[in-house]
Amino acid sequence: MSHPLKKHFKTSLLAFALLGLASVVISLSLGSVDIPFRNIVEILLSRIPFVGDLFSTHPGSPPTWDSIIMKIRLPRVLLGFIAGVSLSVSGSSMQGVFKNPMASPFILGVSAGAALGAAIGIFFGFPWYLLPVMAFIFAMGTMLTVFFLGRVRGRTDISTLLLAGLAMNFLMTAFTSLIIFYSDPAERMSIVAWTWGSLNGTVWNHVWISLPVMLLGSTVVYAYARDLNVIQTGETSAKQLGIEVEKTKIVQLITSSFLAAVVISFTGIIGFVGLIIPHASRLLVGPDHKKLIPISALLGGIFLVACDAASRMSGEIWVGVITGLFGAPFFIYLLIRNRGDTGW
């Protein structure tokens, strides 16, 4: 079983896009307040210009339902999708740049860096819109440190890189714990909860910031898909083919840090998405980044929306715990099933 969807890329892209839409709509119908599916569809349709006039009144749905769908569930589900896309694309980019299946924002310490940046912001009471900025600065710093530590005589040494990522991960986590130690007992638990990732309490502003970041970041990563493909065949041959390897790497690293940092500043650390989704996608469509990146993006969005729905239905278990609980065994299953053939 290698790359079952490789030959049907366009069909699968369409199928995943529809699945993504379906996951959002289904997820909208799940929550602690029971709202019939029909009413949800009416509430959504009534917001669409022109078409909405036909549905402007929805008898039987109290105004609170409108509030719950439009102000609580929709932003939350959308942010879940955006976060899934951003983390997966970020992971795909890192795995491509480092030519290593272990690379991901979580493993390389970028998530921990972003979390520290945001935790510092929370601790000093920065306004919410500065949190993504803080997260990005620290994620970027961590990423560059790891990148340069991992370079031995002008080449990236994978084991050094992973060890550097591990070390930075510990360092950033230690600093975050230090902040937790010095914060109020009342705040303390909420920062602890936040290090596990949660989409509860999402507001539209989070969506309006992370959506353009997702679109911009994913476009930039995708624009370099061909270059990433060539880099996989070896840096020397890539240089001979006229590809600016160093520039490509730096652009990819900045973009992937940016993608991961912004969502993490709103949701907290959600692990495994950036690791397993690119993997699963590679198994489905093969190593071509032109196919890999779009499929990763959609699969990541669907996965996180589903995990968040599970989180909501289980009485708000932190979504990072759920991605770990579902993600890690799935990852192990993939490893066993494709031993020796992980698509690389």
Partner: protein
């Protein structure tokens, strides 16, 4: 290569459009402000000094924090509570009310669905005030840090609920009760006070209330000397400090009984007076931790423990001094 730049340009363009859209104002969640003042409308200040305007006294209240629920029931407006946090379990009527999560995982959907006129929160979760504003729900913040806060919370909540006289009455009543209970113990001189350690919880060390908490005042008024009163607010105290400061009495909530015994069985704790004299008392943790009307019960319990400990300790003190005297005689 060219298509790469076209794609990037499209991406940037889309991003710019969204950022502009975001700056122009969120498409959803615009709060319509009504500047017209209703004749009946009134303004209440909460414990943070924030002014909240009401058209009429709230009829649907979500009470977040067990102490707030107890305060509202004490004001006899419990029937207006439509939602409570998961910890609100007193009085009995509160148990049947719809739960809306706890401070770690707030069930925003339930809260909005309940259509409350106001949500009563505490300073510990003050960030919820901004969150609730998104959904058009007003928040009233209670103080709850000192005993005076408890009295004024009653007055302010009474004012908000349209029963200002009742609020003042209940506050005055509580104040007087507290004074009556502590009349004999409140002003004891330092040397007559019993040293106490209150263990409020065991989380990353031994947690204890220091200066600025209402618990510290409860202990002081009951005739104790809180060995952690040099610490500010909620603090952790090291085992070394506990051994050195040598409390005569250790008090803790019932649910910590097992964890405390793990400590008191340690060799290092065997010289602590409270352990030697078996002066380890367990109390209802809820009445000790909630800045609500049941501070009266907490105060009574502490005065009783103080009295008991004083008799026991002075008895053993006299014995030990007798033994000491005999011992001294023998050696001589």
């Amino acid at each position: 290569m060219e298509s790469k730049y076209v794609l990037a340009a499209v991406g940037v363009l889309v991003a710019v459009v969204f950022i502009i859209a975001a700056l122009l104002g969120p498409l959803s969640g615009t709060i319509e402000q009504d500047d017209q003042e209703d004749e009946q409308s009134f303004v209440v200040e909460d414990a943070t000094g924030n002014e909240i305007r009401f058209d009429e006294p709230p009829e649907r209240i979500v009470s977040f924090m067990a102490s707030n629920t107890e305060l509202l029931f004490h004001l006899e407006v419990g029937e207006r509570i439509v939602g409570v946090d998961d910890f609100s379990d007193y009085p009995e009527e509160a148990v049947a009310i719809q739960n809306v999560g706890d401070s770690l995982e707030v069930d925003y959907e339930k809260i909005v669905d309940l259509e409350p006129d106001v949500m009563v929160i505490t300073e510990a979760v003050i960030h919820m005030r901004d969150e609730m504003e998104n959904y058009g729900i007003k928040c009233f913040v209670t103080g709850g840090n000192t005993l005076e806060d408890v009295y004024s919370d009653l007055e302010l909540l009474g004012e908000m609920c349209g029963v200002p006289e009742r609020g003042e009455e209940k506050a005055q009543e509580l104040r007087e009760d507290m004074n009556d209970i502590t009349e004999d113990t409140k002003d004891l001189p330092e040397y007559e006070r019993v040293d106490v350690l209150y263990i409020s919880g065991i989380f990353e060390g031994i947690n204890t209330p220091g200066e600025g908490t209402f618990q510290n005042t409860l202990f002081t008024n009951a005739g104790f000397n809180n060995i952690a009163s040099d610490k500010i607010g909620w603090a952790t105290i090291s085992e070394e400090d506990i051994v050195m400061r040598d409390p005569d009495v250790i008090i803790a909530p019932y649910y910590l009984e097992e964890s405390i015994s793990e400590y008191t069985e340690k060799d290092s704790w065997q010289d602590i007076t409270a352990v030697v004299e078996d002066e380890i008392h367990f109390v209802d943790g809820d009445i000790m931790s909630r800045p609500g009307p049941r501070i009266v019960e907490a105060q009574e319990t502490l005065v009783d423990i103080n009295e008991e400990a004083e008799t026991n300790l002075s008895l053993s003190w006299s014995i030990s001094s007798k033994e000491l005297a005999e011992g001294t005689c023998l050696t001589l």
